[in-house]
Structures are given as C-alpha cells and as structure tokens.
Amino acid sequence: MQETHKQSNKFKTRAVYTPESQVRHPLKLLRAMWRDLVGSRELAWQLMKRNISAQYRQSVLGVAWAVIPSVVTASLFTFARSSGAVNIGETDLPYPAYVLFSTALWQTFVEALNGPVLAVGQAKQMLVRINFPREALILTKLGELFFNFGFKLILIAGAFIWFQMPLSWSAILAPVALLHLVFLGTAIGVFLAPMSAIYQDFAKGLTVIATLWMFLTPVVYPNPRAGGGIFGTLVKFNPATPLLVTVRELTTTGIVSNPQGFWIASAIAIVGLLLAWLFYRLAMPFVVERMSS
C-alpha cells in the first residue's frame, strides 16, 4: 500500500532544472502553471487555516478587524460631510450606507492589492528552504480575503436593513463584478510581489499609491458626472472605478451606468492577472536566489 503510493509518486515527480529560460517552452510552462495551481489548492487551504487561526488567536476583537477599517472610514466621512468640513455631492443611497458599502468594497480591493506582496514577505523563510508551488501563497491570501469579506458582508447587510434600502434582483450578479475587482487588485499585487521581495521600495510605494488611488475612485464621493476636468478624467480612466461602481450599482439600482467601461476594466483585470501570474512564476526562482545570497 505504502509502496505503491511511493511508486506512483515517483513518476509524478520528475523534475529537470536547467538554466534555459522557461519562456522557450511555452506549452510546458503553461502546463506546469496549471498543474501547480491545481496542486496548491490543498496547501493554500492549510496555510489559510493556519493564518486565520493564528491571526485571531492573538486578538481580543478577532474577526471584528475585518470590518473596523471600513466602519472607521465611513464614520469619519459621514461626520465630516454632515459638519460641512468636506463638500461631497448627493449620492443615490443614504450617505452613511453609501460610504460604508463603498469602503468595504475598497478595503477588499486593497487587501487583494497588498495580499501577494505581504504573502511573499511573510513566507521568506519558507521560500528560501522549500520548493512548494508558489501559487499557494496567492491562493492563501485570496482565501483570507474572501473570509474577511464574509464579515464585511454582514456589515453591508446590516446597513441595507438599517437604512431600509431595496435590494436589486441583479445583486446576484454583483459577486462577478466583485471578483473582477479582486482580480484587478491581485493582478497588480502579484506583479509587484517578486519585485518587492528584491527592493523594499515597491512595498513602501504600494502603501502610498493605495491611499492616493482611493481618492481617484468614487468611494467616499459619488460618480463624477461627464466632463469634470482633469480629476474627472483620471477617475474615469481608473480601471478600479467601473468595477467598483458596477458592484455597487448591481446591488442597489440594478442599472449599470457604464457597461463598456466595466468590460474593458474586467478584460484588463483578467488578462493582467494572467500576465502577472506568468511574471510571478518566472521571477520567483531569481527572487529566492537573491533573498538569501
């Protein structure tokens, strides 16, 4: 029994390492990518369980941390707006609900953005010692993200009930748009993860960019109308805008204001994620080499 298991394993795990660029054998490369993605599901599951239980075991507030940043941001802007400190236009939804919902979505996007960079940084000791499918780190972070989103969902549902907002039937499509938003963040994160392991500048820069990016996305303010100067243009060409707005619209009004923008941004996110994955995979051995030399 054990012996046959060993035998079957023996043929599964044939490996050849050469200095030749993997790009020269694209079919082999794609097959290996797929194999590792599928093969890393179980490891990702174990790592996710490990990370989540470790994270909340040393915390009093526990899972509340999944929603606290959104609640704080939402309260801050609601207070600032009502006291007239900031001038924010009318929103379709009651403002507190609007900003709570949007920041929860934005927070999820930022988690997707930071996840891969954090994962590679935290797994340094593992990376330099064990050759496990590197895809597992990304899947782990995605799993944690959706786990956290579960709690954000409770918060959002609470806001909908409190403000007695009607739910559009199209809300069942919202997860698709949300997934595309997560893909966009993950694509950028996965692309930056190997680089940030070599140069710390990338991780530091990412924090700055994430803050700036939030203000270029209609999170705390409503969609800018057509025109609207340079700022409006920036917001419009920001690929996160149509994705985030579409999630919100599908859930509430059911009318997608910019379907074309949504599909372009989705294409950017999906193609970007595939390219980022390819880059991540090709770059990681070199990163590991420089991590420890």
Partner: protein, 437 residues
Amino acid sequence: MVKAVEREPTITPTVTPTEDKADVVLSVQGVSKKFCRDLKRSLFYGVRDIASEIVGVKGGSQNLRPQEFWALKDVNFQLRRGESLGLIGKNGSGKSTLLRIIAGLIRPDAGIVEINGRVAPLIALGAGFNPILTGRENIYANMSILGLSKQEIDRRFNDVLEFAEIGEAIDAPVQSYSSGMAARLGFASAIHTEPEILLIDEVLAVGDIRFRAKCHRRLQELRRQGTSFILVSHQPQLILNVCTQAVYLLKGEMMGSGEPSAIMNQYEEDLFSTGKQDKLGAVFIDSKGEGKSLGIDIISIFFRDSKGKIIESPLTGESVSLCINYKAYENREIDKVYVSFAIQEIGGEGNVVLRLSSFDDGEPLDVLPGRHELQVHLPNFALRPGLYTMQIYIKKDSLYTLDFFESFRFVVKTNRTMVQCLFYQPRTWSSVKKSDG
C-alpha cells in the same frame, strides 16, 4: 561451535550499483552557479536575470559579471536508489548552494539537474511553524508545505507524534516548546514525508543524544527501504557511517568524488594540510612548522602490541597500546599535557563507544622537547571487531586544545569467538569444589 565471522570493515551498499539507468534518482551534470558578493549589485543582477528570463534570452551565460564568482563550478554526480552521498567541504564551499539547486529552489547557471522522485529537504526544520499555533496544527501546515495531502498527513500523524516524543504538549502552542522539542517536531514531520531523496544539511545536531541516535536509526531504516540521501555534515564520522559515496567541494569546485573514506582523507589532508591516512591503523602527519604550532604537534598515531611491536589492527581482548608520537618545541614551556580520545564505530549508530581522558583520570603526562611518544596502555582491548574512527586531542587543561586529529580510522580484528557481544569481557572460568560437598 559457531565460528565468529569477521566483520567486513567496509560499508555494504544496500542496493548493488548497476548500470541500469532507471535506478538513477538524481543526476547532476556540469552544474555551475554564480553568486555576487556585493548586495546592491546582486539585487540588480537579480532584476536583470528576471528580465532576460522573460524575454527568453538563452540563460546561463558562462561569463562572470563584475563582483561575481563561481559558487559552484561544473559539479557532476549521480545518485541511485538507496544510495547516499556525503557532501564534504569547508564553510562557503558551495554545499548548501548545491542542495538548494537540487531542491529546485534556485536555478543552475549551467548544467542540468534531473530528479526522479520527491525531494524532501531536511534543511528546513519547522519552516512554516507558527509559534502561536499548537504542535498539532503546525504539523498539518508544515507537512502540507512539504507536499503532502490532508489524507497523507492523517495517515502519518500518529507516527510523527510518536517519533517527536512531544506527548501532551502537542496541543500547546509551539512558542511554549523548548528548542529541542520544536526541532524534534520539525525533524519528525520532515522525515515522515517519505521522500525518494532526502537532503540533510547539518540538522542532525538537534536534540539530545538519545534523539540523535533515534534519528540515525530512522535514517538507516529509510536507507534500507530505498530512500536516497544527500548529507552535508562537518562530522566525518557521520559521513563515514551513513554514506556510500562522497563529493568533496572546495570553493565551488569538485575536488574529488568516490568512496567516502578516500574522499574524507583528501579533505582532511587539505583542511589540516597534514598527513593523510593511506592505510587503516596508522597515520603520519607532516609537521605544520613552529609558526603554526601551539607548542606540541601530533606527528603520528598507531598501535603497539604487548611486545612493543607496531601493529595495524588491535586484537580484541589482547593487550594493546595506543601511541601518539609528538614533536614539542623547547621554547613553549609545555611540560604537562592531557590526552583524550573518543571512538565511534563506522557504520554504527553514531554514538561514541569509548571515550577516555587522562584529565578525567587525573593523569597529566610529561612532555619533553623533541620527538617523543605518549602511550595509553589498554590491557584486554574491549572493542569488538569492526571499523572504527577516533578523535584524538592533546590538551593543556580540560578545555585548551594544543593539537588534535579529527578522524583516525582503524580496524579491530579478533582471533577469538565473539558471538552476540557488544564488547570484550575479560574472564576466567573455574570449577570450585565445596568442602562440604
């Protein structure tokens, strides 16, 4: 009466080497690797390497860029099922780099590594251990990282638990473990992944002596089952005990490969630039010169029989003297020294079988300037027949070492019958007539 079989003083490989290619689990052909000394430049080269990988430029340029050096240069060897290979070399000679290439962590700059089977690195004891989580949770995470599925871990879990000897603490957080406990848990998890090739990098020094012996036993067991090993160790005994072949690396270059004791000789010759042991049972060392000496140098080690004749192999049960010839320098004012030695059986479990010290015995030995001999007389030599290795020290006190020899190898023979004896017990038999009988 059963005639005692004289033990072969060589290690018999568990798998007879054949030219059958299917048996090769690991083949390393012409592997080279460049490293860079300067960090900033190294990082920059890393980015450049990534760029050329993505563009698809044929990798592995044979030219060194500024500040680079060959961490490994043209290394070749093969490992068959059930064989074990020892990597020997000073620190920084490229041993760990080679292991990392074999483990698939980094890519070679030239050459090919082919692997048939699962490789488990024992380099990484407890990698991925999270101190907050319990031992139980960490076993699952750790063994998953090492490539096992949930079902496979479930199946092995009890074995791991039993091997690690953690007991009740398995449900306590790992941060409450002693370093020995954590290391045991890491070792137990790694060794139960049942790989075809096990990479071991200086990790057998963990835990107490009993656990170490257990690890060695487990390794021997795995070897019998056909697991191949690559072992990096600074303990010559361990390499001699476990390995069927050895590779000696010096500054990334392969200085030699083949039979472990021959390679070990070559290594020690370079390391100590002293005499090499051509044959078992006697060693002659070139003088290292007064400049390098601490006042007294070992120049030869051998045995004498009861008549004072130099012998190659001590005989079990006979009277024998271990002789250490030294050269002492006049102006160093060393008049008394202590001699100590520890003997291990080659191919055994790695335990010291005999350790004697004149310091412990409270017997300082007089030292005279010039070339003279120190002797320790051993009536009824107690070691059973076999192949042994001995570490010998000449010390000024219990700590200060004046000179030493790392691995003096000798064969013990016998002309007696010794069945099921771990050592020789001197004895006399008699029949006593009782007066009232």
